[in-house]
C-alpha cells in the first residue's frame, strides 16, 4: 500500500516538473517561431542607421531601441532604490526588530506584496497630482516617478528574501561574530550578509524581473508610446512591456503583431541578461569574500 503511494507521489513529482519544463519550452518556442524572423535592425532602429541611433545623433521613430533603453533605465533606477532599502529593511527585520515589531512590520510587507500593480500605479498618479497642487506645480509623470513606484512594488521581494536568508543562518555560525569580538553591526556586514548573499540574490533577481515586465504601474506614471530615447529622470519614457501591449492591441498588419512577438523575445533576452549579470556578480563577489 505504502509502496503504491510512494510511486504515485514520485510520478506526480516527475509529471509536475515535466509540465513546468514543457510550458517553458513551449513559451519560448512559440515566441521564437513567431518573433525570431522579425528580429533585425529595423525592429530596433526603424529607418535610422544603428550607429546614429546608438550614439544618439538621430532619433528613432519606428524601432524599439528607445523602449529597450527605457526599460533598462527603469530597472536600474528602481533597483538603485529597492535593493539597498530592501536589504536594509530585511536586516532590520531579521536582526534588530523585537518580536512585536517584526510581526507588525511583516504584516505591512505582506500587504505591500499583495498590492496589485495597477493600484501602485494609481498611487503614483495620485501622488503626482498632489505634488502639482502643492509644492511642485511643474511636476509630471516621469521616469523617476515610475521607477519609485516600481521600487515600492518590488521592495517586498527583496525584504522577504533578505530576512529569510538571514534567519536561516544557524546558531553555530551566528555566534561566531560575538566569539571573534565583532560588534553586532560588524558581524552583520562581515559574516551574516556574505553568508546570506545567495538567498538575497534570488530576491534581487525576482525584483529586477518584476521591474522589467510590469506594465500597469508605468502606464499611469510616465510611460508613453512615442517619447524617444529616455532623456532624463524627469522626462517621460518608452518601455518594452508597454510597447508589446501597444503593438498587440493596436496592430493593423500581421507584421506589426510579429514585431510584438519579437519585442517580447527581446524583453526576455534583456531580463535573462540582467539575471545572468546579477548571478555572475554574486559568484565573483562570493569567490572574493571567501578568500580575503
Amino acid at each position: 500500500m505504502k509502496k503504491i503511494a510512494d510511486r504515485c507521489l514520485v510520478g506526480f513529482a516527475w509529471l509536475s516538473a515535466g509540465m513546468v519544463t514543457l510550458a517553458a519550452v513551449m513559451l519560448v518556442g512559440f515566441l521564437l517561431r513567431r518573433g525570431l524572423a522579425s528580429i533585425d535592425g529595423s525592429l530596433f532602429f526603424g529607418e535610422t542607421h544603428w550607429l546614429d541611433a546608438v550614439s544618439g545623433r538621430a532619433p528613432v521613430f519606428e524601432g524599439i531601441w528607445p523602449a529597450l533603453m527605457g526599460t533598462l533605465y527603469l530597472v536600474l533606477v528602481s533597483s538603485f532604490v529597492s535593493i539597498p532599502v530592501g536589504i536594509a529593511s530585511g536586516v532590520y527585520l531579521a536582526e534588530y526588530a523585537s518580536k512585536r515589531v517584526r510581526a507588525s512590520l511583516g504584516c505591512a510587507v505582506d500587504l505591500l506584496a499583495g498590492t496589485p500593480s495597477i493600484v501602485m500605479g494609481l498611487f503614483g498618479f495620485a501622488l503626482i497630482l498632489l505634488l502639482r497642487r502643492t509644492l511642485f506645480p511643474q511636476a509630471g509623470t516621469s521616469l523617476a516617478l515610475a521607477a519609485l513606484c516600481i521600487a515600492l512594488l518590488v521592495l517586498p521581494y527583496v525584504i522577504r528574501t533578505t530576512q529569510t536568508a538571514l534567519q536561516a543562518i544557524p546558531v553555530h555560525l551566528r555566534i561566531l561574530g560575538p566569539v571573534c569580538g565583532l560588534s553586532g553591526l560588524q558581524a552583520i556586514v562581515h559574516i551574516l550578509l556574505p553568508v546570506a548573499s545567495r538567498g538575497i540574490l534570488s530576491g534581487v533577481i525576482l525584483a529586477m524581473g518584476r521591474a522589467a515586465e510590469d506594465t500597469a504601474v508605468i502606464l499611469l506614471t510616465g510611460v508613453v508610446a512615442q517619447a524617444g530615447m529616455p532623456r532624463g529622470l524627469w522626462e517621460r519614457f518608452e518601455a518594452l512591456p508597454f510597447r508589446i501591449y501597444y503593438l498587440a492591441a493596436e496592430h493593423q498588419t500581421r507584421r506589426q503583431l510579429d514585431q510584438g512577438f519579437a519585442t517580447s523575445l527581446v524583453l526576455l533576452l534583456l531580463t535573462s541578461t540582467l539575471f545572468l549579470t546579477a548571478f555572475m556578480l554574486q559568484r565573483r563577489f562570493e569567490k572574493r569574500w571567501k578568500k580575503w
Binding site: G181, K291, W292
Partner: protein, 257 residues
C-alpha cells in the same frame, strides 16, 4: 600547603545561570589564579560549557538566558566586574576573554580569512603586521607548516583537529588575557591530543587558562587545579597535590559520578 590567594585572575561569586527559567548553574563560586591550568570536569549537561560562557558573557547571546552573581576578571591589572554597568563593552571583553568551542567552529571562509578578518575588523591591522600576527598565532598552535601552502583553501577542508587548532589560533591572534577552552581534544586522535595538551601547558604562563575536559586522565595530567561540577554546582575542588594521589582522586571521583 595551600597557596595564599593574593592576586586572583578571575573571581566568580555565587554565579547563577538560568535558561528559560531552568537553573543550569547554581551558586558557583571559584577563584582562578594566574599561571595555573584550571580544569573543569563533570558529567554531560552539568553546566561546564555554560560556566565558561558566563566568563565572557557569551550566554547573553541566547535571549532566554538570565545570569546573576558576580564575575570579576583581572584586565590590565585591575579586577573588573564584567557584568557591571561600567564594564568594558562586550566585543572588547570577548576579545580579551577568548573562547574556543567544544566542536570546532570555523567561519565559512578561507583559512587565511578566518585568521585575518577578525584582526582587520576589530583591531584594524593591515599588511605586514596582519600577516605576522597570523603566522605567529598559527605557529603557536603548530598549524603553520600544515597550512602555509594552502592558506586560501576553505577552512572546512581542514581535518577536525586542524580546525580546532585554527579556532585556537584565531583566539590567540586577538591577544586575549584569558583563554576558555571547551573540550579542546574532543574530536582529536592521540597525536593531536598530545599537541594540544602540550600547547596548553606551554601557554599557561602567559594566559589564564580554564579548560573543560571529558577525560579524567587528561584532567589529572594537565590540571594545577580541578573543579568537579555536577548539576550546576561545584562539588569538589582539588589542587595538584590531591590530584597526584591516585587513590584519593579515584575515591572523590567515584563519589561524584
Amino acid at each position: 600547603m595551600e597557596k595564599v590567594v593574593t592576586n586572583p585572575a578571575i573571581v566568580v561569586e555565587e554565579l547563577c545561570v538560568e535558561f528559560s527559567g531552568k537553573t543550569v548553574l547554581e551558586n558557583v563560586s571559584l577563584t582562578i589564579l594566574p599561571a595555573e591550568l584550571h580544569v573543569i570536569i563533570g558529567p554531560s549537561g552539568s553546566g561546564k560549557s555554560t560556566l565558561l560562557r558566563a566568563i565572557n558573557r557569551l550566554n547573553e547571546f541566547f535571549p532566554n538566558c538570565r545570569t546573576s552573581g558576580l564575575v570579576r576578571i583581572r584586565l590590565d591589572g585591575h579586577l573588573v566586574d564584567i557584568y557591571a554597568r561600567d564594564a568594558p563593552p562586550l566585543p572588547e571583553l570577548r576579545r580579551r576573554v577568548a573562547m574556543v568551542f567544544q566542536t570546532p567552529a570555523v567561519l565559512p571562509f578561507s583559512i587565511e580569512k578566518n585568521m585575518t578578518m577578525p584582526l582587520k575588523v576589530t583591531l584594524g591591522l593591515r599588511g605586514g603586521e596582519l600577516r605576522e600576527r597570523m603566522e605567529w598565532a598559527l605557529r603557536q598552535v603548530g598549524l603553520w607548516d600544515e597550512v602555509e601552502a594552502r592558506l586560501l583553501d576553505e577552512a572546512t577542508t581542514l581535518s577536525g583537529g586542524q580546525q580546532q587548532r585554527l579556532c585556537l589560533a584565531r583566539a590567540l591572534a586577538l591577544g586575549p588575557q584569558v583563554l576558555l577552552v571547551d573540550e579542546p581534544t574532543a574530536s582529536l586522535d592521540f597525536r593531536a591530543t598530545e599537541t594540544i595538551e602540550q600547547l596548553l601547558v606551554d601557554l599557561k604562563d602567559r594566559y589564564t587558562i580554564i579548560a573543560v575536559s571529558h577525560s579524567l586522565s587528561q584532567a589529572r595530567r594537565l590540571a594545577d587545579r580541578l573543579w568537579v561540577l555536577r548539576e550546576g554546582r561545584v562539588m569538589q575542588q582539588m589542587n595538584r597535590r590531591q590530584l597526584q594521589d591516585a587513590a584519593l582522586f579515584q575515591e572523590i571521583i567515584d563519589n561524584i559520578f
